[in-house]
Symmetry: C2
Subunit: 612 residues, 2 copies
């Protein structure tokens, strides 16, 4: 039944041979890799305004200079990543770059930051997408959390089926979104220039005096607009040759588009005096101011929802890939490195869906408080990746290494400054979670690594042992004693079947019955003599009505008499036709197994008798 | 750890030899067996008033005639039960009497009614006890449900420890309660006769016109005051000889006390114009009116709480005893008939606590709606038990049988009329649950019975088989083939240990590795040749990365080559030091076991290798 539902939902299993690596044109590559970055404009401006509004309506003019500073930072990071693309044409992810150049622990910190990054990218993108939907259709507001979870579920299923990052699927929504936002900006500028007056100009009282701290907080909030720009460095291999050059070209294009969109929206939000509120997104308010509530408005909201879902989807390829990488290096449970039926890392997809859903449920789909956590994850990986690059150039000293190192150095310092700003300004607003969380993830990874090393050390053979391999060779010894103990409750067909098996595998069989007072002792003895007279039956007293303790004593004693022998303990068990019928029978088998199964020479075997 | 906590809470295990049957004096016997009946006065009057109040303040004078009718019924039932005590000096429970005289299904209906009775006795008594407490201390009102559950938990633990129904423990609270209530009635009568005016006389508007239906409903609600009188018929054996006579004496005494207390409280409630409300019990209002809020008031409330807890406790000996009886007759899961560590039917105690807690949680501790369900359970068992007695006398025809039969006949008709009245008048108020529930319980009991019969038929031997017992005799055949298949993931110490076991028990061993692409095939082959060259290794392709399906195919084919042989499939498994470390390893063992373990000749065995 379950297997059938799984087939219906996920499709047939795929053989290994189906796997092919596809290459994309630059236009398709941009569509596939830029959704996370471009979609950030859906919430970047809003984040700035939500901080600035605390200083009253007057200072919202500060949003534009702050946005300009962020675009400058974006430029630095973009140039810095272009250097990475040049040096790591196969996999320029922060984990790889940091591990190779800075060592194990910086690499693990980068990995932990990326895990946070990928998980919160899903959370934030899905929440923002749902906000775009509920802004347009306020009736859906009460369904925010179920809608968020529905989107996560759909992404999960699509990716478990093995959603290919096909250019076709991604191009339409991405380019539609770009055109939509440019259209919105253009229309807004024209509207404004012909002297359109804003209907919802409302004065907000000052709650907090203007100070450098407020500006820093607004700046660090706005940096969320930069999330996702690192995606291209993870996906260089999908470009056609020359991969590295094409990737750099796409990176520059993407950053330029992102910068222009972000500046445009921030400028319009300022001249349209948009005041953020909890019920409607800034982008939706702006959209409604410019286009009214007509077709154009709904079209732009829909394309915003779509790009945000695509943005969440990028984590569905990045997270399973990173976790399989970590699992192969023994830093995560091995199960994360297994390819599922549909040739995807199913366990990683399930884990990501679970982790991303938790904050959605806990925070009821309102993610303002964790958007700064997302930024911390992103900027930590930015910083470490670029620090790694500085070290890389320093080690390599190829032609022009110094300029490259300087670019990456400036990038790493800039992102580090932003990182510190975010941590300091938002520490009490939730960022402390990561100050504990990231070291905890690193600790867990290294604990897992130690466990796997310990296991393989325990299980493997030393050279000396291999040399004397006769130790492990077991020529079948004719006269070896292999005893078996058969547990008897009542004498019935199941018992007989178990005794039959026992006398097949062992050359010394003893039957044991534990008398807890439920069955007549004489009857058992009599039936036994009649049916199995040639095998001894031992009846153990159990005044405390426990099956387990007299049995443990008996087996311990029996083992003393048979040192160095495997002792097979056979439990007869009958299997009824339906699972629920098991409720009507004692589950003693499990207790016995749990109580006895703790010595290497004891083998507990259940012989099933199937009822017709 | 868990075992330690269990020891602390429940005490050490007791051997069978500790069990002794104790006998009680009549005074102690009354204390032990009457708490359920006597405590009914805590809610009986209230139930009548809650119905009558719908007819307005004017008709509350009807409560006294209704109470008189109930006491008359109580008299009939008491006399009727005295006949039962005479005929069944060992166990006069409704299940036994109905089964013996009316047959299987009436017996099961009686059993189902008793189950409902015992469960709801706990629910109603605990809820009423908590109401006595929250009436006295209104601050505890919001904690009603947790308090109810706490009392259930305490009863459960006390009974799991093996609370003896010792006269000592029960006498003080029972007699204190009797004295308290008589004191209350006396003080109330004196107060009233010296012309004390009632402070809280409030006029309640008429919500429903007075009619025969309202009176019938009030009557049937008041019949809850009779719950618990059957207890003595279940406990005849605790009396000293002559048991039957002593039991009858105690029964008559108890019914007289109950009748007087019930009439007294109902009369006082009428003359004091007590109006029932949701926050305070009628008994508490009356108590406060008579004694004010002084020591006497709190003393009486406390003794009410205590007797109600004792009343709930009677179910803790009756329910496990009944369910063990049913389990021994194969009408309930056998586990209910096992004596636990402390010589009590632990499973029955746990089941009762669970069942009784459910309505407390679902109805938030307000049990007005289920008190009529309780009455249905009680009156169904009354009716069946007495009908059974009529049949008993008719069959026996001993001296004076006709008079006895008439008494029981009148009793059964009277209780049947009440039963029908309750069912009709309260059908839509919840009693329909039992109209479905009791037949459902009967159906379940007989389905369980059928299952056990089917199992014992399947497992047992026919006479012909026993005659030709050579069929089951297995003289050890020297040349029998017993093959074993060892599953190999990697070649390590655990694998070697499993192969060693395989060559101990089998004379044809084959190792199987399933290639899901995770490990290098050549490496495995090479290591195998080096360590276990004498045992063949088969490597199976698994292009779909499934461990299970290629293995099933292989085993199926292998079985065709070895017909009529037990085939042991050995899975090596290593056991890490801590349970949580298992999360880091594949749980393939369970999947393989579940997938393969479906043929009688296949034995799946796990050989553990313990990591240090």
């Amino acid at each position: 039944m379950l297997a059938k539902i799984k087939r219906k939902l996920l499709g047939k299993a795929l053989p290994n041979s189906v796997y092919v690596h596809q290459r994309l044109s630059n236009a398709s590559g941009l569509a596939v890799l830029s959704s996370a970055a471009l979609s950030s404009v859906a919430y970047g401006t809003e984040e700035i305004l939500q901080v600035l509004i605390l200083g009253g309506t007057g200072i919202s003019t500060l949003s534009l200079p702050i946005a300009l500073a962020i675009v400058l930072l974006l430029g630095i990071v973009t140039l810095s990543y272009c250097q990475t693309l040049r040096a790591y044409p196969h996999d320029g992810g922060a984990y790889t770059v940091a591990t190779e150049n800075l060592g194990l622990y910086p690499g693990l910190v980068a990995a932990a930051a990326l895990i946070v990054d990928y998980v919160l990218n899903v959370t934030v993108s899905i929440a923002a997408g749902t906000a775009a939907l509920t802004s347009a259709v306020p009736a859906l507001q009460p369904l925010t959390v179920p809608l968020c979870l529905l989107f996560v579920l759909l992404l999960m299923l699509a990716n478990l089926r093995g959603l290919k990052e096909s250019g076709k699927l991604f191009m339409a929504p991405t380019y539609t979104f770009i055109v939509s936002i440019f259209g919105l900006i253009l229309a807004g500028l024209i509207h404004h220039s012909i002297g359109y007056s804003v209907p919802n100009y409302s004065v907000v009282p000052t709650q907090e005096s203007l100070g450098i701290f407020l500006i820093l907080r607004a700046f660090s909030a706005g940096c969320t607009a930069m999330t996702g720009v690192e995606a291209i460095s993870n996906g260089v291999t999908i470009f056609k040759a020359p991969e590295s050059k094409n990737a750099r070209l796409v990176m520059l294009t993407m950053s330029s588009i992102l910068g222009v969109m972000f500046l445009g929206i921030t400028y319009l939000a300022q001249v349209y005096h948009v005041v953020p509120n909890a019920k409607e997104t800034v982008l939706s308010i702006l959209n409604r101011d410019i286009f009214g509530s007509g077709f154009a408005y709904y079209f732009i909201q829909a394309s915003t929802l779509l790009i945000l879902i695509l943005a969440a989807n990028t984590s569905y390829s990045d997270f399973p890939r990173l976790s399989s990488l970590l699992a192969k290096d023994s830093f995560m449970p091995r199960q994360l490195s297994f390819l599922g039926d549909r040739l995807v890392f199913s366990n990683g997809i399930l884990l990501l869906s679970f982790l991303a859903s938790m904050p959605l449920i806990l925070l009821q789909g309102s993610v303002n408080s964790i958007i700064s956590l997302y930024a911390v994850g992103v900027f930590t990986s930015f910083t470490l990746s670029q620090l790694g690059m500085v070290r890389h150039w320093h080690k390599e000293r190829s032609r022009g290494w110094f300029i490259s190192a300087v670019i990456n150095g400036v990038g790493s310092v800039a992102t580090l400054v932003v990182l510190v700003t975010i941590v300091v300004s938002k520490f009490r607003a939730g960022v402390w979670v990561l100050v504990i969380g990231i070291p905890l993830i690193v600790y867990l990874c290294s604990a897992i690594h130690q466990h796997y090393r310990y296991v393989s050390k325990q299980l493997g053979f030393t050279r000396t042992e291999l040399a004397h391999r006769s130790r492990f060779s077991h020529v079948r010894r004719k006269n070896i004693i292999h005893p078996a103990i058969v547990l008897i409750d009542r004498v019935h067909r199941g018992t007989i079947s178990a005794v039959k098996y026992a006398s097949t595998i062992a050359n010394e069989v003893v039957a044991v019955h534990i008398d807890i007072g439920s069955i007549d002792r004489e009857l058992i003895n009599c039936q036994w003599q009649e049916l199995e007279g040639d095998i001894p039956l031992v009846i153990l007293d159990s005044p405390y009505r426990s099956i387990v303790s007299p049995l443990i004593d008996f087996v311990d004693e029996y083992e003393l008499k048979h040192p160095n022998a495997f002792i097979t303990i056979i439990i007869p068990s009958f299997v009824p036709r339906h699972w629920w019928e098991k409720l009507l029978h004692n589950q003693t088998t499990y207790f016995i197994d749990a109580a006895l199964n703790n010595k290497p020479n004891r083998i507990i075997t259940t012989v099933h008798y199937y009822l017709r």
